[in-house]
């Protein structure tokens, strides 16, 4: 198990756990990022942050800070 932010571009994995406090992660879950969801890290933005991921057939951008708290494996 490792943070989503450590995937390299193009690498795929599955969400295991989301360590963002429950009262802040509501929208993330509603966007379909849930334990068990397959994700692909697409790329990092040119300035290194945020990251772009692909899940459930669409592209979503998150900050590195959040991506570090999403455990995949």
């Amino acid at each position: 198990m490792r943070p989503l932010s450590t995937l390299s571009p193009g690498e795929r994995s599955v969400v295991v756990r989301i360590d963002i406090p429950p009262d802040q992660r509501g929208r993330l879950l509603e966007m379909g990022l849930l334990p068990g969801t397959p994700v692909e890290l697409v790329r990092f933005a040119p300035l290194g942050d945020p990251v772009e991921i692909k899940l459930r057939n669409y592209h979503l951008s998150l900050r590195r800070l959040e991506a570090e708290k999403i455990q995949v494996g």
């Binding site: 849930l34 669409y58 592209h59």
Partner: protein, 732 residues
Amino acid sequence: MKPFTVVLTGNPNCGKTTLFNALTGLRARVGNYAGVTVERKEGALTGADPRHPVVVLDLPGTYSLSPQSPDEQIARDVLFQRLPEVPPPDLVVVVADASNLQRNLYLATQVIELGHPTLLALNMVDVARDRGQEIDLEALAKALGVPVLALVASQGEGIEALRQAIRAQAAAPGTRHVIPRQFNELPEDFGREAQAIEDRLEALFPQRSRLAAAEALLLLSDERTLPNEGDPAGARHPAALVEEVRSARRRLEAAGVDWRSAAIEARYARLFAIEQHVVRETAPPGETLSDRIDRVVTHKVWGLLIFVAVMALMFQSIFWLAQYPMDGIEAVVDALAGWVGSTMPPGDLNDLITRGAISGVGSVVVFLPQICLLFLFIGLLEDTGYMSRAAFLMDRLMSRVGLHGKSFIPMLSSFACAIPGILATRTIETRQDRLATILVAPLMSCSARLPVYTVLIAACIPQRNGWPGITLLLMYLLGIAGALGMAWVFKKSLLRGDPPMLILELPPYKRPMAGAVLRQMWDRSRLFLRRAGTVILGINILLWFLATYPRPGEIGERFERQRTQWRQTASEPPTDEQSAALLRIDQAEAGERLRQSFAGRLGRAIEPAIRPLGFDWKIGIGLVTSFAAREVFVSTMSVVYNAGDGDGEGTASLAEAMKSERRGDGSPVYTPLTGLTLMVFYVFAMQCVSTVAVVRRETNSWRWPLFQAVYMTSLAWVLAWLTHVVGTRMGF
């Protein structure tokens, strides 16, 4: 007869607006919901049976019924029939993106559970097909329990069938009642608690019993539906019910059930199953065109270069392309003022109409082409999908000052006008970030500052070696630096909060729809025009009175004596020197009148406050009158220096008049340093009543707009003072 109301809802980027335009034929009315500035778009269904008129209401795009922004809150409240001004929907059309089925069905199933007569418009089936996904419409309709229609709204495919379906429903309303059904197998404990709350709701609000199941689910799982602990104000539900929900949550926590995520996970599990059942993969998913574009547009080197090029192109064309229509508008205004001036009998009324109304409003309307162009570009960037890439690229920089990539769009819009910029902050979820963006947005140099800069640069800055352009660029950069700096200060102090979370969808690129982009450009520009016709017209008329009255007869007599004297000594025809002397008498008279007028007195009254900045009372008049709208500075200066009226040379003649203005000791008033100091003042000062009014509406209190006006004006004074002091020390 009450028209049949169709409500359109769906995720952002699902093509909802395109569908709305197709259904209503670009003749929508755009207004606001009561009390908030969320755009309310509605229009009559074209091709409806005249006996059964149909109104289509386009709700703001939303990802779920647990709102994170004011826009999403409106969408939820309409669907929950909480807004007294909006009739209950007779039919809900949920628009879903077929190529992004699971996430779009998340909202769709939430809406279906509300029990309104519902229809699913499955849009962009062509995109899904291109990706190798064939959707079985019949199976989907069966799984959802509502009719499903396939569409390609951008090509007009399927629109007729949808129109037919709406017409059929309007002709026989109420014939199809949806049996409320749920799309999630909830964990047992959770389901039991939800059922208990649903029963309570049904008992409390029997007339809303249809919505009870959906409402119970949200009450239990959406943190924000309950009022804050110890703050019952604004509660929608009786205190006893709120307490019941709280204890239900506590019981679930004790049983190890996460009440926040249980319903979401259960729903996605169901949606995954539905997708497995109705989608047939005809080809393995490959790289799409959009992916290929993104490889370049978000590339480490190319991405940033393209971004800079897009921004440069946008601003260059705003200045260059707008020049021609602007010259045209200026000519028309001058001609109109000239015609009215020569047709009407001379006198105060003539003067009021030509100089107060026509020239005053004209000097502002002239910026319409620039504003239209800016909105055109912003609309194109939004419509193609590039805007979210811009937020993706810029987020790192914005996060340095504690803001969000999403704040980038409002700040960019504020280059045209802070008002649309402030309205654009509605997509920012966190209150602190939204407020910080609102507070700093007016520091971005808006188009109303442009005429002020232009005149001051022409009057004060050496017209060589590219200095005018450099100065202008400097002022824009100063505004940007000010906005980012103040955002940082606010986020560190008043609006401290966790670094905002960024959840930004990057939708596939698409070809912009010309009609919709132009229509949106016009809707937004109209705001500016309306302002010119109301606020600015009012200020100009008031200003004219202040600058014209009182009129002591003594002044007229004194200067008339001088003129009589001149006539006795002048030769026939007068020499150049003599004509110049007469002109000086006229100017001295105008100056004396202004000095005696209310405006002159006001200017002199504030002179002690602005003398440290190196300004005199005439500049004081400009500052006083532009307090409500900064662009009024230019028309005030024309009145003060008696220049630029009717001779069709506008800025140039005003700048000449300002250049020849002297202080008591014979030195010029408008030195480069005075110009720079004034411009610095205008970069930072909050001189715009419309912005104050919009901020008041958006923040729902007077506290923030007043705070904003005070901090900006203080900042303007201090920085202008610094400019003056440092400049003087350096010997300018």
